[in-house]
Subunit: 590 residues, 2 copies
């Protein structure tokens, strides 16, 4: 979706102000993995309008830029804007970059002329009359019509190369007239200059959104270097203040937050609706600034994080709740559904495709740290201990969890801990919810003005040793509203629900809408796909940390080979009591 | 859907025993209209497995039979089985009858040889080797494969024309082997004979369902005539009992119910699962027998009555709740939806087709009786009075109501009466429901073992004089969870919800299923279609009772020309209070 359409949508929903984050592609593989984690966290917590990734000057990092953009667009949940400059690009390079961006599902381009590569006086234009950013805008529009949303850069203080501010604003108008949807400005520290710039733009007929670029001061050296390089005008009082505290790193950071907050507040008061943060790949300062401003747009459309390439996705099986990337991988080739839904095994289009590209599993450093967390288990008790520690937040990761899980999402704690202590190793779960407001900080999602109501059926998934399976099933069967499926790696099947059963797991009822049911429990998907993936993790993810035929590896393999995976739904979300049901199961087992 | 498939479905759902009703085509138009009303009531209240309509001996009433079958199949909500006999039929007649049945959406045929027409010794076979019922079965199967479900007749006491019972059962086996799905027997009064018949059938390998025919004794003369004509064996004790009470009509009817109950009970005890009632177009005795037996299958799949030709229909706009036939007419050509839904204006296939065939409006007799009910109004107060009387059950019909409405379905009585007294003339409405069990006798529908939960948003629709519209809207707008649309016949539009809005009006949450939402409020359908139909009723239905330019006609026309139709939804089905909202509206208006 184009950023300009996101802006319209946010305005319609009253989610204003909005903000976006800019990153640069890291140089090392390790750096890339860390950036992914960081962006994911920032996107999940802060819900930016879009994120963008810079294009290496001279195209040196252009591959990295494409790679990171692609990864973020596919998995992070944010809309990605890719930078594209004319610097050091042949016409073929340009065409291939655009074509690749389209292939990778990227919908937004920031069209730049770019600076000459270091050592060169002036850059060589790619030809075909492409000399200015406006030419690039025109070129993209001619070739791709409305497929790409195009943004251009604005300079509140005037571009360095430009003789007068008036001339600079006329250049900007040329770029907008060529087909740009919005303007993002270079960073500045003098708000009045920016507000004056906006007024002048409006006067000569630039009507699209103009988003100010904010670079929070994160440390003194960096700030000094950047403002000098860009010849940024810095008000004297800022310079004075920094001079005073420049040796106290924390004080500089605090001031950066304070100043950013003040600048944004002033612009909001003057009617500015969106802000673009140059993050320099750092997290804390931006986060603190937004928290200070009290403008974090944390509203979730669905209980799970949507990805940018699938704005219409409405349904996901609950099983992949903690492995969203795996789910996206598996369903990568899906884009059009006859019934407008995702993940329903009754759809004729259903069928998992093979992972298109394996996202990085563990780096070497991560492997080391994971062995520290999960130990070298030699008994079932060791394994139980790992699951319990995870629930108690003593370790922050389990092999089945692709991301670090918020404390809040692990609920029904006591029950889950008891189950793990008794050898029932728990994976996905959710507590029962009967009509809580959609603004509820724990389970809320969807529109909140006016509020809707959220419902959840209690759900628990766990591995069980084979010798406990019959007892568990006998105990579960005493409850007429409990549905279960149990299976092992050989494909044994024990269940009390017929083939084709799909159960609503999470739904929401909102004003002026039909009932929305984003999370489902699909019996056949559990049996045919999810259980196999979950068993596979024992061997190929956790198991991959140890030597083959080591004691730990063999232990994990024997679990993989003999355990059953259960999923249990309490259908009665009003009077049901899954804790009581499992208390009785555990009593019977002991 | 074929009857044999309905049987499997009922067994799967535990809805056993099942029962079916047989009718004959009435000779007069008046009779036909009355039969339609009666069948509709019986189907709505008793939910038979199927209904069937006899084929006039000698084809004399074959047209009537097709016509009635078609009408019932389309509107009554029951699956229809059409009789077809070889008597007096040419091969062309036969082909044309089958072709027509298929065209009309009828899926089930009872294949009979038939009796010779009166005055003839023996009937003339249609040729093509068609001499026996088994030939007809084979012919249908050859030509139509599994499109038609085919039933054949069985004779518990042996067919009159057949020398021995053994020969008769061998004949039956031939019919079943030719492709019949089930056997329906001629009526009998000796249960032991029937049970023995079933045993013999099973012995020689007839495995399909054998449904006993029950003809409750409704009056002495009729019983005597029928049993004599069919040479039915009647146990002496029945004859003795009838002899005793034959002059007391009510006593005979009571005995008929008692006897029927006893016979069915005995058969249920012997494992018989289905019963076919020869109703003779009468209602009370069959109804009382079923009530006595306590086997009425009243469970509704959806809040509205499904029609047999649309087993997959899942959604209807609330507006046509009291005009289901009009809705079916309008959507007659719909059969396949890309998203498996009905009635959503966002569907690319949406668009009302013209009524395929206007169901009979009013007979002359009905017109007279309606004028008695609705009077000859000369003032708005007269009109208000009619609406209030209807709500108080002092009259049983309004022009907008295609069927007589159960008392229970008109709820929020006080509010509606007050609105009508203040000049807001109410049509469709439903009260708020927050999670009542699906077995609730008032609002329940859908599976009940185990129970699910039912939800409804409060909904009210009403006509308002133009001069009250602004006040109403101002008052409604004070409530953030109220949505409304108001329009007049000229197409003015006043609303607080955007185009494309579809609101869930009724939904149900059942074990092992996704959330089902069978009734919706669709803004665009209300504005573009329903409001026009509702206005039209003033002029072309109610207005049709009076001379053009009469005072009453002109009054109705002025309402048609100037009033607004409102629909109002209270989105908050938990904390909303639509009665309070309208109390305030009414206060403001007075």
């Amino acid at each position: 979706m184009r950023v300009i359409d996101h802006i319209q949508e946010r305005k319609r929903q009253g989610k204003v102000p909005y903000y976006s984050f800019e990153y640069f592609p890291p140089k090392t593989e390790e750096g890339k993995v860390n950036l992914k984690d960081r962006v994911e966290r920032m996107v999940g917590d802060l819900d930016p309008l879009f994120i963008d990734v810079t294009w290496g000057a001279g195209g040196s990092t252009s591959e990295a830029s494409l790679q990171v953009s692609h990864w973020l667009q596919t998995y992070s949940g944010a809309e990605v804007m890719m930078h594209l400059t004319l610097t050091n690009m042949s016409l073929e390079d340009l065409d291939s970059a655009l074509e690749k961006a389209k292939e990778l599902g990227i919908n937004n381009i920031l069209a730049l002329r770019g600076d000459p590569p270091s050592g060169q006086e002036r850059w060589v234009p790619p030809g075909a009359g492409l000399e200015y950013a406006s030419d690039l805008v025109r070129y993209i529009k001619q070739k791709y019509g409305d497929y790409f949303g195009v943004a251009v850069a604005g300079y509140a203080e005037g571009h360095i190369d430009c003789e007068t501010r008036d001339q600079d604003i006329r250049n900007l108008k040329t770029k907008v007239d060529a087909g740009a949807d919005l303007v993002i400005t270079q960073f500045f520290y003098d708000v009045d200059t920016f507000l004056d710039f906006v007024d002048r733009c409006r006067e000569i007929g630039i009507t699209c959104p103009i988003i100010p670029g904010i670079m929070p001061i994160q440390n003194y050296q960096g700030f000094h270097k950047m403002t000098t390089f860009c010849q940024t005008k810095v008000p004297q009082e800022i310079l004075d203040k920094l001079e005073e505290i420049k040796d106290d790193e924390d004080a500089v950071k605090d001031y950066g937050v304070e100043l950013g907050t003040k600048m944004v507040k002033k612009m909001i008061d003057h009617g500015i609706e969106g802000f673009h943060f140059y993050t320099l790949n750092l997290e804390r300062t931006v986060r603190r600034t937004l928290e200070n401003l009290n403008i974090i747009q944390k509203e979730r459309d669905t209980p799970w994080r949507k990805v940018a390439t699938r704005q219409t996705e409405g349904v996901r099986p609950i099983f992949w709740n903690y492995r969203p990337k795996s789910y996206i991988d598996r369903t990568y080739s899906w884009d059009d559904y006859p019934n407008g839904r995702w993940g329903d095994s009754r759809s004729p289009a259903f069928g998992f495709s093979y992972p298109m590209e394996r996202y990085p599993l563990y780096t070497l450093k991560q492997q080391e740290s994971l062995i520290k967390k999960w130990g070298t288990p030699t008994s079932i008790e060791d394994i139980e201990e790992v699951f319990v520690k995870f629930l108690k937040h003593e370790i922050d990761r389990l092999p089945w969890y692709e991301e670090i899980v918020d404390k809040e999402t692990l609920i029904i704690q006591n029950l889950l801990q008891n189950m793990n202590r008794k050898g029932l190793l728990t994976l996905n779960s959710q507590p029962q919810v009967n009509g809580l407001p959609s603004s509820n900080p724990g389970v809320g999602w969807g529109p909140t003005k006016p509020e809707g109501y959220i419902y959840q059926r209690a759900y628990i998934e766990f591995f069980s040793p084979q010798n406990k399976v019959e007892d568990i099933i006998e105990e579960l069967s005493k409850n007429p509203t409990i549905s279960y499926v149990a299976t092992d790696i050989q494909g044994s099947l024990k269940t009390n629900i017929p083939e084709g059963t799909t159960i609503a797991a999470t739904w929401g009822v909102f004003p002026n809408r039909e009932v929305v049911q984003p999370t489902i429990v699909d019996r056949d998907v559990f049996y045919n796909w999810w259980s196999k993936e979950a068993f596979n993790v024992w061997l190929n993810e956790w198991g991959s940390l140890y030597e083959k035929d080591s004691e730990s590896y063999n232990l994990l393999k024997s679990i993989h080979d003999t355990y059953y995976l259960f999923m249990v739904v309490e259908n009665d979300y009003i009077k049901g009591d899954i804790e009581k049901v499992f208390e009785r199961v555990l009593e019977r087992l002991s």
